[in-house]
Amino acid sequence: MMPDLEMTTAQQPEQKQQLQPKFDIRVQHADFSLQDVYQQLAATPYCGAVVTFVGLVRDHPELQLQALELEHYPGMTEKALLQIATEAAQRFDLKAVTVIHRIGVLAPQQQIVLVGVASAHRGSAFAGAEFIMDYLKTKAPLWKKQHDANGTAWVEAKASDQAQQQKWQ
């Protein structure tokens, strides 16, 4: 961040506060609005890039998915997501980060998770958003149960998610 040459001493505390990244972390049953989140992110001062990721309940042609059920560890989930967002913001110089994860029973095509970041430049925005998703997938205490034509089963963790997260280390 370049110094603000016109900044007076009196304005300093306010200006400094603006330079801290803004975090908005939510774990909720309710659906969310990408538009609302985007408008908040796009209003971040001196930002040129906003990247958003939305994860949806995905059906397969041959797997008649009825629902996904999301269980979580109340209290820890929010802390874990804030830690991940904070690490991403420091590492990629993000100015604002929003993470919303839904819990409960979700039907196919419904929204599960939203990650949105605002940054000065596109490279850091893409990297920051993907970093958050990769860490969320392996570090945030959430578990999926799948209800489909074959019955009910807990979703198994994927080795590929572990490998993807380790790429950032």
Binding site: H72, Y73, A80, L136, L142, W143, K144, W154, A157
Partner: protein, 82 residues
């Protein structure tokens, strides 16, 4: 006393979401796991899984960390959110 929580498939298999346990002296999570395994064949089987994760006071941790009275310890399968 400490509070112990289980989540996901582990909670379902144990048919137990949380339990309280007396703790006189600090002990490692690995020690605590051994005590839990001695509770029943069900616990012994479910807690034998090497992939289990644990958290101390809502922070992921290794089994070498020390648990103290008043702490909250959680065990759960690899996470599958997102």
């Amino acid at each position: 006393m400490i509070k112990i929580l289980f989540f996901g498939a582990l909670r379902e298999r144990l048919q137990c979401a949380s339990l309280q346990m007396p703790l006189n002296t600090p002990c490692a999570v690995s020690e605590l796991l051994n005590q839990l395994r001695q509770q029943s064949a069900l616990f012994a089987g479910a807690l034998a899984d090497n992939n289990l994760l644990c958290a101390l006071n809502q922070q992921l941790c290794g089994t070498e960390v020390l648990v103290q009275s008043g702490d909250e310890v959680a065990f759960f399968p690899p996470v599958t959110g997102g």
